[in-house]
């Protein structure tokens, strides 16, 4: 399903910089879009401040429920979000959150392996799931009269998943194929993984969501069961239903199906803090399959939840001004005026549990020297820190962002995603609804302070994707050893090819 994402400016950029690792069990590419909050049905949007105008309540067992009514067509999206993701994994068990996501489509006490999806399809619905560092979510898009069916099945697998080696082990091979397809066959994605691992040296955001191939290969049924029993409790989950449905329809069903599942103690999500590093870091991936180089520069940035959170809203305005589209500073300077790049932009999403990332990316014009391009990018970013942005830039960017809220209501999935991400990362329904007001309140001085705090950091990380000389592909022997992690000098994962990859590190 392709919900329009054009208004959610950060989304494509972020998918590129940060969220590449979100993994669904299928080709559906259900990358999470913790984008700027977005809205649904408002009888009189002018009369009330807000975005989606949801209703929410809590079950007795601690499971939170959010309902967003949108009566365009008689369909709904039904989502269950667990407040656990790849960053909550035990060291050495990297990838277990995502692996379990795959295994949730296997048997329960009531359903055969694969039956869940077959029943959804038989009922004219579509289902899938995705995992991020901070959450794991399962969804079904179905006709509105199928709500009870999907809720019943979703509640069933929250309580009664039954794993056997017969289903677990082939699925582990599927995940390894997924990793090959999404990461190892794609140099740009390999670089993203390496840059992320080098930006977060200590914090678990540095481990890919899907895991490293050598660790995935060792994950077991017991690992999956342990993760499931530790984290998949109703009091650690959020139910979001959006579409042609009301809270009066959702509440009795939620009480009937999720209500009886007993709450359990769930571990606190205590994650290590990334220490400050004084060294400049560069990651260079040279790969024979690269014909078009690219460059990205990433900065640690606060989120809504960690660090100098006061900058979270101003940074969204800053990103719009510096890298939001064809009239942004970077595009105008690097693409239009200096003719150094064919594309340029920035990405920032504050919607994470821990600290976030502010990134800028550029793709060079033919035969442009990468050092020159990098210097030009650095100069533009330095100029923002040095001279600040103008009142007019801030006013225009704010207007654009505030209008996002109206476009965001024109969607089923957008609102559900916004609440799921927010609630799974420690924020509230009210935070989502207040987004336009908080953007509107941002001042020029706040934007400039945020720019100094983030872009003014002395040690951003730079990632370079560069071509390597093409070697005789046919002559390369297959190498089947375990994949190398990012700290190896040859860090192309299980890519056994003539590509000559190098990760410069940490």
């Amino acid at each position: 399903m392709a919900e329009p994402s054009r208004r959610l400016i950060a989304a494509p950029v972020l998918a590129f910089l940060l969220l590449f690792g979100a993994c669904g069990p299928s080709l559906a590419q259900e990358a999470p879009r913790p984008v700027e909050p977005v809205p649904a049905t408002a009888p009189e949007p002018e009369a009330r401040k807000g975005v989606f105008f949801p209703e929410s309540f809590m079950l007795d067992n601690g499971m939170q429920v959010v309902v967003v009514t949108n009566q365009r067509v008689p369909v709904i999206t039904h989502m269950v979000w667990y407040k656990v993701g790849a960053a909550d994994e035990e060291t050495g068990k990297g990838g277990i959150a995502h692996f379990l996501e795959h295994l949730m489509f296997k048997a329960t006490d009531e359903l055969k392996p694969g039956e869940f999806s077959r029943i959804v399809a038989r009922n004219g619905g579509r289902d899938n799931a995705f995992t991020s560092w901070d959450y794991t979510a399962y969804f079904q898009n179905v006709a509105a009269d199928r709500l009870e069916l999907v809720m019943r099945m979703e509640a069933d697998r929250m309580a009664d998943l039954r794993l056997t080696d017969e289903t677990v082990l082939p699925e582990r091979d599927v995940v390894l194929e997924e990793r090959r397809q999404r990461t190892e066959n794609e140099p740009g994605d390999k670089l993203s993984e390496l840059v992320q691992a080098s930006l977060f040296v200590h914090h678990p955001y540095g481990t890919p969501i899907i895991g490293w191939a050598n660790e995935i290969a060792k994950l077991t049924r017991d690992d999956a069961n342990q993760f499931y029993h530790t984290w998949y409790a109703p009091n650690n989950a959020v139910l979001v239903v959006a579409g042609d449905v009301t809270v009066d329809q959702v509440r009795p069903l939620a009480e009937k199906y999720f209500g009886p599942i007993a709450p359990r103690p769930v571990p606190a999500r205590i994650r290590v803090e990334e220490p400050p590093f004084e060294a400049e870091r560069r990651v260079i991936l040279r790969d024979a399959e690269v014909r078009q180089p690219s460059l990205r520069r990433l900065y640690h940035a606060p989120s809504y939840n960690r660090g100098e959170t006061v900058h979270a809203y101003p940074l969204q305005v800053l990103s719009e001004i510096v890298g939001g589209g064809a009239t942004s500073r970077l595009y105008r300077s690097l693409v239009v005026e200096q003719r150094l790049a064919t594309s340029a932009g920035t990405g920032y999403s504050p919607d994470v549990f821990d600290t976030s990332v502010f990134g800028a990316y550029v793709s060079p014009n033919a035969d442009v020297d990468m050092d020159k391009l990098e210097a030009a990018l650095a100069e533009q970013l330095a100029k923002v820190v040095r001279d600040g942005v103008t009142a007019e830039e801030v006013a225009t960017a704010k207007t654009r962002l505030e209008r996002e809220a109206i476009f965001a209501r024109d969607s089923l999935r957008g609102p559900a995603m916004s609440f799921g991400v927010a609630l799974a990362t420690g924020r509230t329904v009210e935070d989502v609804e207040a987004w336009p007001e908080r953007i509107a309140a941002v001042t020029v001085e706040q934007v400039n302070e945020a720019a100094r705090a983030v872009l003014g950091q002395a040690n951003p990380i730079t990632g370079l994707l560069l071509p390597a000389p093409v070697r005789e592909a046919a002559a390369q022997p297959e190498r089947t050893g375990p994949a190398a992690g990012p700290s190896r000098s040859n860090s192309s994962g299980s890519n056994s090819s003539g590509s000559n990859s190098s990760g410069t590190i940490r």
């Binding site: 329009p4 009566q71 067509v73 399809a121 194929e177 090959r180 014909r291 064919t342 014009n365 890519n495």
Partner: protein
């Protein structure tokens, strides 16, 4: 069919749901609007959110690019919003961004598509910018060179994309003497050779009232829409000068083309001749495809290759109904050492379906999916307009959404068996493999790096 659902209550929920299920597409009320100037559009009025989406298409896509100028339609699609009328590129883009208006153009194989999305509060500006983009694009040298650079970068990027390499090899083999065998973005050489005059000629020849289709969704009434249609499209000439290519049949039956690349995973792509959208067997073929590989987790290809054996993350099939040719395609990827096994399994499923058709249960499941999932795509204004536009382009009639479920439900087991037998032929498959596949004997190796 739900034998493992042990709890009776569970069963009753399922059965009840199936029993009372009907097509919900009827909820969509489509109005045919003809402007004072004679321009037709289909409209779904929806005032819940103060915005609207206009989608339109001109017949003739990249297939009509002149030989040697491949990539012309694509380059033009990048330039219509890069300066028009009195506004240069930055001014045009600034007006779009400051008013939260999106104007987009895309060249596909068979058509040139455009879209306008705007809030009601900024719609006047949106209509004016759309009019200018279609009727007075400037093609300033600066913008042309900038967009040309961007396209050339995309072409370079694609050269390292195994999925692109697979598609390129497949289309070049299937359509060696037909425009469908060319690349939509063109080659570095052909894109370099495109001049501003070519772009101006493109607009003059391609955009006209007689090859235009329009669909609109959102907060606008039929009375309001009429004048808007004239305002945006009224300045176009009456007749287009597009010469469609001849109908053709894909070639390459039985060939296996290897594109050797130093990758850990082999990308597989297969095709054979298929059915066009106006073929009376379209829905039986749709059901064949759904059961074979179009049904995501529920398909035979996924069951055999992913679920049972863990050989792939994804394997799928789909119908490709171009205007002048049609294909059934299938694809997926697997570790190099399993490539031969995967191709064999795909061909085996092809054969099994050809010989035996589908079971009654598979047919029933396909029908409830295909009818029930249809409304799921109507969840945004743009998506509704996209469906309206495609139904018009395919000539299916304004009542098609009401008839669609009946057409699907009328398909019999015999229809499916006959069509599967006619459609699927493992010996006719053209196979492309990109990577370093083991267990595959290519009939041809294509080891050039595309320019």
């Amino acid at each position: 069919m739900m034998r493992r659902l042990s709890m009776p209550a569970f069963l009753s929920v399922l059965l009840l749901a199936v029993a009372c299920f009907a097509s919900d597409a009827r909820a969509i009320d489509i109005k045919r609007v003809v402007s004072p100037g004679g321009i037709e559009a289909w409209l779904v009025q929806d005032s819940k959110i103060p915005l609207l989406a206009i989608k339109f298409a001109f017949k003739g896509g990249v297939e009509t690019d002149p030989a040697g100028k491949e990539g012309l339609a694509n380059l033009a699609s990048t330039l219509l919003d890069e300066g028009a009328g009195p506004h240069d590129s930055q001014e045009f883009q600034r007006r779009l961004a400051d008013n939260s208006i999106s104007i987009s153009f895309t060249a596909t194989m068979d058509g040139f598509y455009g879209g306008v999305e705007t809030l009601v509060e900024t719609q006047e500006e949106a209509f004016e910018l759309a009019r200018l983009a279609l009727t007075e694009p400037r093609f300033d040298q600066e913008a042309v060179e900038r967009m040309r650079s961007g396209v050339l970068a995309q072409i370079r990027r694609e050269q390292g994309d195994p999925d692109f390499l697979a598609r390129r090899a497949l289309y070049e083999t299937a359509f060696p003497d037909h425009p469908y065998g060319r690349r939509a973005r063109g080659t570095a050489e052909s894109v370099e050779s495109i001049k501003r005059d070519d772009l101006r000629a493109f607009v003059r020849q391609r955009f006209a009232k007689d090859n235009l289709t329009v669909a609109v969704t959102g907060d606008i009434s039929p009375e309001q829409l009429g004048p808007v249609l004239d305002r945006i499209f009224g300045g176009l000439p009456d007749k287009a000068a597009v010469k469609p290519p001849a109908d053709t049949v894909p070639k390459g039956a039985g060939a296996t083309v290897l594109v050797p690349r130093p990758l850990p995973q082999t990308v597989v792509l297969m095709s054979q001749p298929g059915v066009k959208r106006n073929d009376p067997d379209w829905f039986p073929a749709t059901i064949v495809n759904y059961v074979l590989g179009g049904g995501s987790f529920s398909s035979r290809l996924m069951e055999e290759i992913r679920e049972k054996r863990g050989l792939t993350y994804g394997v799928y099939s789909y119908l490709v109904p171009f205007q002048h040719a049609a294909m059934v395609m299938a694809g997926g990827s697997t570790a190099n050492q399993n490539a031969g096994t995967m191709v064999d399994l795909m061909k085996e499923e092809w054969r099994r379906m050809q010989e035996q058709g589908v079971t009654q249960e598979e047919l029933d499941n396909a029908k409830t999916y295909l009818t029930g999932s249809f409304p799921l795509q109507f969840t945004s204004s743009e998506a509704v307009a996209d469906v309206l536009l495609q139904v018009q382009r395919d000539g299916l009639g304004i009542d098609y959404l009401d008839r669609r479920s009946d057409l699907i439900n009328a398909v019999t087991l015999e229809d499916v068996k006959r069509v599967a037998g006619r459609l699927l032929d493992p010996a006719a498959l053209l196979t492309v493999v990109v990577g370093r596949p083991e267990g595959i004997e290519p009939t041809r190796t294509k080891d050039d790096v595309p320019s």
